[in-house]
Structures are given as structure tokens and as C-alpha cells.
């Protein structure tokens, strides 16, 4: 990336040799032109070295056999598309990992955006005291670290002595043997959804609420005079005006929910002992870090990255279209 900055700097400031009539002005304009690149040099170098170079290296790894033997010998062998063939063939990816990843993300994004929007609208209609209470609560839920939040939900649903088991048993709704919610894929992901939506809706609610306060009240009043009800006003005024904000929170939620790792890995069985519940991220991590099949893990990681790239591309188009209008 340093190379790119350097060439770009040269390209934007082509100092022709013969043009030396006004040297002072030329040097000033040269520094002025270089200034953004001077400012960007350090941040871009960090991004290039620790985000861009690794993503190139992981792609390179995905075409190699790279296990313990290769680490020791230092001579990984090229295997072409073998790792991808191994990841894509068989039913495990298509029946288990991909549905886990995609369905989880879809439900989590819809849940987060819907709940976040409802809470934002609720915040707008509340008095100052109730509003402050809800915002404070949302901040606390947002602040609850993913690791601790996950452990609290695991404790609530603990199959031996958790709150849900004991409550259901006291109510006579669950037999004395109890039930392990973490072994079944559907209930496992149900708990993960609760955890993730609980953790990520406050960001959406607070951001949308901040956006709502920027909508001029006159718009709503005019619409009310024209006979529009609350539902119509939401879809005709709030949504169009806040479309950029909705776009941003949906982009970020989708990206975050597709690559959810901690919340799955830390649940019982989520770190590999229950193959039914792995998603793309955890599967890749298992293969690479825990089983030392770095090549195969890298191939799965590249597949996850491609999915995310596709989503990002769609949203970038939406965002930049909005920018042109504004």
C-alpha cells in the first residue's frame, strides 16, 4: 500500500522540470497536494499490513496443503483447488454450515432492525424520564461484552440447574430429566438469536432515534392534516427520510451477523464437539487453528469472505446512490 500512496502522490503532483518560474507557489501547491497522502500514510499502512496483506495471504494459503508437516518443513505444496473441492463437496457445507450461517444472519438482521426500529419509535413517543430509562437500559445491553453476554444466556438455559429448566419444572411443563437445549440445532440457534439480537438492537435503536430527531415535525403535522395515519406516516415520511440511516445500520448488522463467532463458539458444543451447530466462521477456525489444516480452513474463510464481499458490494451501491441524491 505504501507503493500505491507513493505513486499516487507522484501522479497528482507531476512537477515538470521546465516550469520553474514561480518556485514558491509550486512547492506550496505540492505540499498541499501531498498533504492528504501524508495524513493517510500511517492509517493506510496499518490497514495494508494487518488487513489487506493477511487477506491476500489467506487466499494464497487456500490453494496450498499447509498442515503441521508443512509448517515444520517450511515447504507447503500447491494443491490447486483441492481445498475448495473438499469444502464444497459432500453435504456438510450445504446441509449444515451454510444454512446455519445464512438463516441465522437473516433472522438476526430482521429481528435486530425490526426491534431496533420499534424501540426507536417508542423512544420518540415517550416522555423525557421514561426515554432516559429506556436509553440507559439499551446502553447497558449494548455495553454487555459478547463473552459475558453469551455466558449469561448459557447460564439461563443451563440444562442442569438453569433458570429456564427450573422454572419449567416448577410449573410442571418439563419432566424430571430436563432437556438439553444446546444439542438440538434449532434451539441452539434460538438461544444464539436471543443473545445476538439482545446485544445488537440497542445500536440500531439509538442510531435510528438520533435520526428520527432530525426529521422536521412539520412533515408529520402536514401529513396528519392530510389524513395520514401513523402507519402511513411511518412508511411515507420516516422510512424515505431515514433511508440512508436504515441502509447503514442494515449493512453493518448484516456483516456482523454473518461473521458471528464468539457467541457460537462459547456455547456448549459450539467449539466443535457438536458438528450440527457450526457456522462458516467457526468451521473455518476449527479446521485451521484447532486441527492445523490451515489450507482447508483458509479455503472456508475465503468462501465466507466472498459472501461478505457480495453483500458489501450491494450495500455500497445503495450507499453511493444515496450520496448522489444528498
Amino acid at each position: 500500500m505504501e507503493d500505491v500512496t507513493a505513486t499516487a502522490g507522484v501522479r497528482t503532483a507531476p512537477a515538470p522540470a521546465g516550469d520553474a518560474r514561480r518556485p514558491v507557489r509550486r512547492t506550496r501547491s505540492l505540499t498541499a497536494r501531498l498533504r492528504p497522502w501524508l495524513l493517510l500514510a500511517a492509517p493506510l499502512a496499518v490497514i495494508a499490513a494487518l488487513l489487506l496483506y493477511p487477506i491476500v495471504r489467506v487466499t494464497y494459503l487456500s490453494f496450498q496443503r499447509y498442515g503441521l508437516k508443512e509448517i515444520i518443513s517450511g515447504h507447503p505444496s500447491f494443491v490447486g483447488l483441492d481445498n475448495y473441492r473438499e469444502a464444497l463437496s459432500g453435504s456438510y457445507l450445504w446441509r449444515t454450515v451454510l444454512p446455519n450461517t445464512v438463516l441465522f444472519a437473516v433472522v438476526a438482521v430482521v429481528g435486530t432492525i425490526v426491534l431496533g426500529t420499534l424501540v426507536a419509535l417508542l423512544l420518540q413517543s415517550l416522555g423525557p424520564k421514561a426515554r432516559a430509562a429506556v436509553i440507559a437500559a439499551a446502553l447497558v445491553a449494548w455495553a454487555l461484552p459478547a463473552v459475558t453476554g453469551t455466558y449469561v444466556w448459557v447460564w439461563i438455559f443451563d440444562p442442569d440447574s438453569g433458570l429456564v429448566r427450573r422454572t419449567l419444572q416448577n410449573a410442571g411443563l418439563l419432566g424430571p430429566d430436563g432437556y438439553n437445549w444446546f444439542t438440538d440445532r434449532l434451539s441452539f440457534y434460538g438461544i444464539a438469536e436471543l443473545n445476538v439480537i439482545h446485544h445488537s438492537y440497542p445500536f440500531v435503536a439509538i442510531t435510528l432515534f438520533a435520526g428520527l430527531t432530525t426529521i422536521p415535525q412539520e412533515l408529520h403535522e402536514a401529513a396528519r392534516i392530510d389524513g395520514a395515519n401513523a402507519w402511513q406516516r411511518f412508511w411515507q415520511i420516516t422510512v424515505p427520510v431515514l433511508r440512508p440511516v436504515f441502509a447503514v445500520v442494515t449493512v453493518l448488522s448484516t456483516i456482523w451477523d454473518f461473521k458471528v463467532f464468539t457467541q457460537i463458539y462459547l456455547m456448549p458444543g459450539g467449539s466443535g464437539s457438536n458438528p450440527d451447530v457450526l457456522n462458516l466462521g467457526v468451521w473455518s477456525y476449527m479446521k485451521a487453528i484447532n486441527q492445523n489444516q490451515y489450507g482447508l480452513g483458509a479455503a472456508i474463510a475465503v468462501l465466507l469472505t466472498l459472501v461478505l464481499l457480495a453483500i458489501t458490494a450491494v450495500y455500497l451501491r445503495v450507499l453511493f446512490k444515496e450520496d448522489e441524491i444528498a
Binding site: 493517510l40 496499518v46 488487513l51 445491553a141 439482545h198 474463510a301
Partner: protein, 278 residues
Amino acid sequence: MSARTSVWAKAGKYAATAAVLLFTLFPVYFMLPTAFNGRASSGTDSLFPTHLTLSHFSRALSSGESGGFGRYMVNSAIVTVIVVVATCVLALLGAVAMTRFRFRLRTTVLVLILVVQMLPAEALVIPLFLQMKDLRMLNSLLGLAIVYIAFALPFAIWNLRGFVAAVPVELEEAAYLDGCSWWRMFRSVLLPLVVPGLIATSAFSFVLAWEEFTFALTFLNDPGRMTVGVGLAEFLGRNTNDWGGLMAASTLVTIPVVVVFVLAQRRLTVGLVAGAVK
């Protein structure tokens, strides 16, 4: 008719508020009584604690040959300070460049900053693990901090952009008219006005560095070097079903984050909204 609807609307609003508060606060609430309860043997016992005790906290803080949670919290604090300071400095440079200058490739850089935010940690952890292993920087808090800076930076630049853009250019021009150099203007005009943005950036990078799990799990295997996220997992691994101790440790991990969020409250989303609506 309309009076009756408004009564129902009011009741609905209260019910909705109560439901939101219950769902939002319950997990946080449930953590506390378990942490302080002398009989935290089952979930229903923990719901309303009767025998208050601090023994879970002392167990969490002292257990293990590595020094327990006190050690993990110090490690996390070291990493966090490095990450917050470095991210603020680098993000401010980047945000000023992106908002105050029109240059070739500006859109390209902007798209790059947006796109790298979507790169999954799971994909980067594999090459970075191999790299850190080659550099013998596994179990190094500095190595971990450097990775976190890179992860915090794209979002920090993007978020800070909105705050910098909100500072009127006229103020800068006035400073130039008064004979300020660019650097002097940056220090005396721009910097003080983007402090709210820096507070938001600090809060976000604080949270990322304090509680990050994936890289800490991969890079750190020496218990003396663990940070709080992976420390919690290590604690549960050693003390299966010690929910009291785990929730006490979780409480310790959560408190600093809640404090930071409450302090930074008003600044957290301003940059995003300003950047998006503008």
C-alpha cells in the same frame, strides 16, 4: 371514543416500555444476583438472592496459578490503553484527510475503508496467527494490540469523518486569515472541536480491545498473558459449573464497559447519523 383510544394507547405504551426494559435488562440483572448469591446453585435460587456474599469475587480474583482475574484485567487494560491512543491518533489523521481534501483516488480510499470493515476476523486470524508465530509474538500483548488497532481503524475513520465534516470550514479559513499555518490551525481550531468525535472513537476502540475474543483465544495460551475475554473461557474451563464465580468475573469485565458507554453516551451515534444523513 378518542379519549378511550388514548387511554389504550397510553397503556400499550407503558406495556411496551416495560417489555423492552425487561428484555433488555434481564440478562444483566441475572448476572448480578448470581455473582453475589451465597447459594448460586440453581437459576431459580439466583433470581432473588438471599445470602449475599463476596466470596465469588474473591475466588475469581485469586484462583489459578496465573493470579486469576486481577491479572487478566491488568493485561486487558494495557492492551486497551495502547489501542485507544493509537486508534484516535491514526483515525483523526485519516478522517481529516478524507473530509478536508479533494484528491484523486479519494473515493477509492473511502470504498477501501468501507470494504475492509467487512473482512471477517475468522479469515484474518489464520494468516495473522502464522505471522505472529513466525515473529514470535504469540503471547505478546503488544502484538495483540497492533492487530486490534488495525481492526478498530476503518470504523474509527468512518465514524470520525462525520464529526470532522461538522466543523465549519469557515473557522479554518478564519484561522488561515489570522496567519496560522495548516498545522497550527489543526491544533488550535480543528482538534478542540472534534473532541466529541474522539470520545466516541475512544469508546468504540476501548470496547473492541477490552473484550475481544477471537484473536485473544488464538494468540494467547499463557494464562499470565490472557485478557479478560479469553480469561473468562479459561476460568469456566477450569471451574465447570462454578456459575457464581463465572458471573462474578463477568461482572468485573462488564463494569468498565458500562462506565465508558454511559460517559460517552451522547457521542456514540452522532458521527454515524451525521455522516449518513448529510
